[in-house]
Amino acid sequence: MSETRPNNRSRNNFCGRTRREFLWQTGGGFTGVAMAGLMGNDGFLASQAVAADGVTPFENPLAPKDPHFVPKAKNVIFLFMYGGPSHIDTFDYKPRMKGMDGKTVEVKTFGRGGRRNNGRIVETPWKFNQYGQCGQWVSDLFPNLATCVDDIAFLHSMTADSPIHGSAMLMMNSGRILSGSPCLGSWLNYGLGSENEDLPGFVVMLDPRGGPISGAKNWSSGYMPADFQATVMRSQGEPILNLQRPNGLTEGMQRHLLDTLRDYNKDHQQPRADNSNLAARIASYELAFKMQTAAPEATDLSSETEATQELYGLGEKRSEPFGRQCLLARRLVERGVRFVQIYSGGNHNDANWDAHGDLKHNHDMHAGETDKPIAGLIKDLKQRGMLKDTLIVWGGEFGRQPTAEYARGTGRDHNSFGFTMWMAGGGIKGGVSVGKTDELGSTAVEDRMHVKRLHATILHQMGMDPDRLSYFYGGLDQKLVGVEGAEPIRQII
């Protein structure tokens, strides 16, 4: 049982911590009964569920909690284009660059190759067209997604603190370039809890080619307890680590084991009834037992119609893996999972969007893998009436430079001075664009928006005040958006 609770309710005398948080962090986690008593005071016990055996109370740290105000969105699906997709080759149309290919221009850039003052233009190899009523420009990389632009708000002037993968990934996921802080999904689960206690509240799906750089740091709960870290889920095979019973152990046998275990534990608990941790642990086994059924049910895509599967690009070799993940993401949010993050791209070099070598080869591959699934996701959510409650976020840890990285070739280096991300659903206005980069796309020049603004917007749509969602650690009320706070991007909400 974790005693940490978000700071949604009244602030009191404990530096903004709730009493339970306060006791927890100061080492009071042992006195179960004290906790029970205190929790009773602020309605915590009322949110208890009952475990599968129908009697044992389970105090779930992820039980749903009240948001700060009426939320626009209930769930988030974050499509993480790891490696950094090029904004000027996807959604940030730069007509002025036409015909400039190969020209050396003065432009300040900063990437893994360091700082430069000039470079050779690499003109985009893709054609751009306008789509939808809003007339958003989209390159030929995304023929399917282009049909959804009226549901999307594009943020063309994103900025981040680092143009280096490791720290930039941490920034996009946890708001800081230093490792050790909780990720966005942890914050949301901490603040809001999860709607389905049989499934994890924060799910991450990885690219089959490998995880992103820094691995688990990207879905860690940092200084928060482990309740709030992500569970890695797979769309094929065993969906969650340790979910499958070991070879030879039947369900009946396991039930028998759990029943006997409970008998022993009950005897042990009886003279220690004041320690609610013991009851919580008994109940956690029942919950685990239920998860063994719930998770495979959620990941079973075969119950989806052929039309739906086709919508997500299943059955096409290129788009099938990401398509499965997108479809699974829809099934998870349908079942109340609060935050789902899917990585497009993994490992190193061209196994992700990090197009240092051959831009065309790289982006054709990754866009090709994701275009149809993402469009399918938006359309499917929309037709099911779920798009209004589901916030989709698309983007990488940064964008790419307008100029070539090397003397030869089309590779582009990293660019954190300006790049594009987009959001859709969950109360976000469709068909709008905010912000501008300069005519080369080298840096954001209008309505510059730091990553923190994106985080603030996500929290805000989920009914949380980004300046108030805080967690007491290290002597401070820590916030996802930092001590100075950040404003949601009002133009798109």
């Binding site: 530096c15 006195t31 009426v70 820094s214 482990a226 340790n242 070991p246 022993y264 320690n275 290290g474």
Partner: protein
């Protein structure tokens, strides 16, 4: 009310207040206020205001309507008359027609939309509506509510803050007199009992002997006693059996492994750097070993600190004291920072944060960007303290050699150094001799070579072929054989590397002249303010230290030694208190000060301040020896109490603030894993120290890495069965069983572990590879030790896991489980026993200590 009407009202209000009759308007307010004096509200209304309304106002409205200076729309909501007066849009509440109040419209998003961030939850709207309709009940006196965001500013260094308990020098308190003298085993009990008696509580009964045995084993060693050790203890009925047990445990080498782990948590010990490469920290394990050895040797705590802070600047640095300075190299390290100068300050900040919180219980780090908001620590103090580290190099520049240059130092002894030099010289000499001999033989044929062969001859590896061609012509077979032998020997010599292993991860500085440090405005290295010199926090009122001039050729500035002398001093009001509190915390589950890294104004108050000071002074007077303190604490009756609750005490002191009983606890992550191995008989506890080992991490977990498996090695089964403290700590890849049971996060100091209960723990304990593998080993052990007697196997399993004799009921239940497994579920004999072992390792009693 329509939006239009609202605008009209606003305009009217505006014209009234700025135009015609402002004086009258103000007088009018006063009359209104008098009409309903705040004191006329009923007690329950006032309670309602305090408890329900005020927190909403503070949280929801004060950001814009509670400020002293920046106030939005002219509306202030911090006192009642201000609410009535209203702002630019007119009175916020009309007490005569509360239902029509602008305030209610705004929060219902009917005219104005407040708060702008989003509509409040219905519950809060209901509370505020009731408040308005009841005529704005307000605390008598109508004093402005304090906006926490602006309250008070930063505490100053003055007589009041200086007299705060933890800034004051320690004083030896008098041991209090108590009524129930018989219970007092040593002064600790007197301090605890005094408070219990004052509260009308009585201490719980003594814990059962086996409970105490188990408690003592886990507290000191982190391991369960073996069945034999249980028996030895139970058989010893001498009055000092328990004391002898404590002595035995304190002598055990496993003590350092357990208590070392506490320290490793505090200094955020890890063996890699995090970030993209998460590369290994070379030789870092020596620091871990140094901690374990220091604790086992009962190194005085002041020396323990001094070596870590300035082991290289001490009078006679030893290899051990150099290793100790690895303290500075344990943190995260960004090897390609976007802003290198900021990265340097981030690193230094991380070091100061750990030093301040861990050694002094001070959150100095909060003053990096501005005056400390909660403690009397001016921003300049931060930079004065940081100046002690002003000469530090970063861990490295990018990798490879730069780490070796900046963070590795030789710890060879003079003899080793001599040996190494000699080995290098000898090697060179031998190579020269051999080269000469080979050249002599080659010379025999050189004149005979065709132009083509001359080309071939250039390749030294092929010369032997040219020799072989001329056997019995220009050279003898013997000479060719000799040449081949020489060549082989030369290759060996080339492969030879002189002994180079004894390196340590250390602190180094840029030289004897450190960087000139400045106060940095908002913590930005680009905004340097005035210069600062090394100094201690001004709250302690100590003059700035004189830094002795660095000796000629000195490699460091000698500043850290001065810092170490101040911290590791018995006159420092914090150091001994902070550590005495930690000792208490790790025995009792919580510190006397619960916020054990924060003894500041906002830390928690000590529940037993006199006891804390008594322990701290006892600690220093016993030469900072931790083992003496363990014994003292563990021999107290306070420690020996049962953890069982009695309803009366529970009702009076549910949080056990007064220590009327012992606190139950769950095993720590390492204890869970080590105990599984200990119970099934496979724990390799004999092997201690050395480079870290790798346990098996499931492929599914490795898949989360950008290169699955990278940076994770393979250890032999014997190595894998070693204690958890020796497992490689890779920041981006935590061992699942440890992570799941709340091992310390590696990126920040961890003073108190979490103790979560999650279904994923249960899944791992039921289905995970590790548990299932170890359950099989457990079953094998049972079969070996209890032959084919199923009853004996069940008893042995429970005895080993719980360190007590199982009851008849428990044994019968186990037998029935196995029987049913076979008969009803068709399990084989082996599987049925294995499942029982799995069950036993999942028992709450196995994981929880009384």
């Amino acid at each position: 009310m329509s939006r239009f009407k609202n605008i009209v009202t606003a305009l009217l209000a505006l014209s009234v207040s700025i135009g015609v009759l402002s004086g009258t308007a103000r007088a009018q307010e006063k009359t209104d206020e008098k009409k309903k004096p705040a004191s006329s509200f009923k007690a329950d209304q006032l309670r309602f205001f305090e408890k329900d309304v005020k927190p909403i106002l503070v949280a929801r409205c004060f950001k814009c309507h509670g400020a002293e200076k920046k106030i939005k729309g002219g509306l202030r909501l911090t006192f009642r008359s201000a609410v009535l007066k209203g702002g630019d849009s007119g009175p916020a509440v009309d007490v005569k027609k509360p239902a029509d109040s602008l305030f209610l419209e705004a929060i219902n998003f009917e005219s104005l939309e407040m708060p702008p961030a989003g509509k409040l939850p219905a519950k809060e709207i209901a509370i505020l509506t009731r408040w308005v309709k009841e005529g704005l009940p307000w605390t008598p006196g109508d004093k402005p509510l304090v906006n926490p965001a602006e309250a008070g500013g930063s505490p100053e260094v003055n007589d009041e803050t200086r007299s705060f308990w933890s800034y004051r020098p320690m004083k030896r308190p008098v041991v209090p007199a108590v009524k129930q003298k018989g219970w007092v085993q040593n002064p600790i009990d007197a301090f605890v009992l005094e408070k219990l008696e004052n509260a009308g509580l009585t201490p719980s009964a003594a814990a059962d002997r086996v409970v105490l045995l188990r408690r003592a084993y886990y507290d000191l060693l982190g391991l369960p006693p073996t069945p034999e050790e249980v028996q030895t203890f139970l058989d010893d009925d001498s009055p000092d059996a328990y004391e002898k047990l404590i002595d035995r445990l304190l002598e055990s080498p496993h003590y350092g492994e357990k208590w070392g782990r506490h320290w490793l948590d505090l200094v955020r010990y890890a063996e890699t750097n995090s970030y993209e490469r998460d590369g290994p920290k070379p030789h870092v394990w020596r620091y871990r070993d140094w901690v374990i050895r220091s604790l086992n040797a009962d190194k005085p705590y002041d020396q323990f600190l001094r070596e870590q802070l300035a082991g290289d600047e001490l009078e006679n640095p030893t290899p051990e004291s150099l290793i100790a300075t690895g303290f500075y190299r344990l943190g995260i390290w960004d090897d390609e920072p976007a802003d290198p100068e900021l990265a340097l300050y981030d690193d230094l900040d991380d070091i100061l944060l750990v030093t301040g919180q861990v050694m002094l219980g001070m959150r100095i780090n909060c003053a990096r960007c501005h005056e400390h908001k909660l403690d009397p620590i001016p921003q300049a103090d931060y930079y004065r303290l940081l100046s002690f580290f002003g000469g530090l190099t970063r861990f490295g520049v990018r990798g490879g050699d730069s780490i070796a240059q900046r963070s590795l130092r030789s710890i060879r002894t003079p003899q080793q150094e001599e040996f190494r030099k000699r080995a290098i010289v000898e090697n060179d000499q031998q190579k020269k001799t051999i080269a000469a001999k080979m050249a002599a033989i080659e010379k025999l044929i050189q004149g005979d070579l065709s132009p083509e062969e001359k080309q071939t001859f250039r390749d030294a590896r092929k010369r032997i072929d040219l020799l072989k061609k001329r056997v019995k012509k220009l050279v003898s077979q013997q000479q060719v054989d000799e040449y081949a032998a020489l060549r082989k020997r030369r290759d060996e010599l080339n492969r030879f590397r002189p002994p180079n292993g004894d390196m340590a991860l250390c602190v180094t500085e840029i030289g004897s002249k450190p960087r000139q440090m400045h106060r940095l405005v908002r913590g930005s290295p680009q905004a340097k303010a005035e210069k600062v010199q090394p100094g201690f926090p001004s709250i302690f009122g100590i003059a700035d230290p004189q830094i002795p001039a660095a000796a000629a050729g000195a490699k460091t500035a000698g500043r850290r030694r001065v810092l170490a002398d101040w911290i590791a001093s018995k006159d420092n009001p914090r150091t001994a208190r902070v550590m005495a509190n930690r000792l208490w915390q790790f025995h009792f589950g919580r510190g006397i000060v619960r916020s054990s890294n924060d003894f500041g104004l906002q830390g928690t108050e000590p529940t037993h301040p006199e006891l804390l000071d008594w322990l701290a002074t006892e600690f220093t007077s016993r030469g900072w020896r931790m083992k003496a303190m363990h014994k003292l604490i563990m021999l107290s009756n306070t420690y020996r109490m049962s953890s069982r609750a009695d309803s009366r005490s529970l009702a009076k002191d549910p949080e056990n603030d007064l220590f009327w009983r012992f606190n139950m606890r769950r095993l720590t992550a390492e204890e869970v894993r080590d105990s599984v191995l200990a119970v099934n008989g496979s724990l390799n506890s004999k092997e201690m120290f050395g480079p870290s080992i790798y346990t098996i991490i499931p492929a599914e977990v490795l898949a989360g890495q950008s290169q699955p498996g990278s940076g994770w090695g393979k250890s032999s089964p014997e190595e894998r069965a070693r204690r958890s403290v020796y497992i490689h700590v890779k920041r981006s890849l935590m061992v699942p069983v440890l992570e799941s049971f709340d091992a310390a996060d590696t990126d920040g100091t961890c003073p108190v572990r979490f103790s979560t209960t999650q279904p994923t723990q249960a899944l791992g304990m039921l289905n995970g590879d590790f548990l299932n593998r170890e359950a099989t080993v457990f079953a094998e052990l049972l079969k070996k030790q209890a032959a084919d007697n199923q009853g004996a196997q069940v008893i042995l399993a429970l005895r080993r896991a719980l360190q007590r004799e199982p009851t008849k009921k428990e044994t019968t239940r186990g037998l029935k489980f196995i029987d049913d497994a076979k008969k009803r579920f068709g399990a084989s004999d082996d599987d049925a026993l294995k499942y029982f072992c799995l069950l036993v390792l999942n028992l709450n009693e196995f994981l929880y200590l009384d």
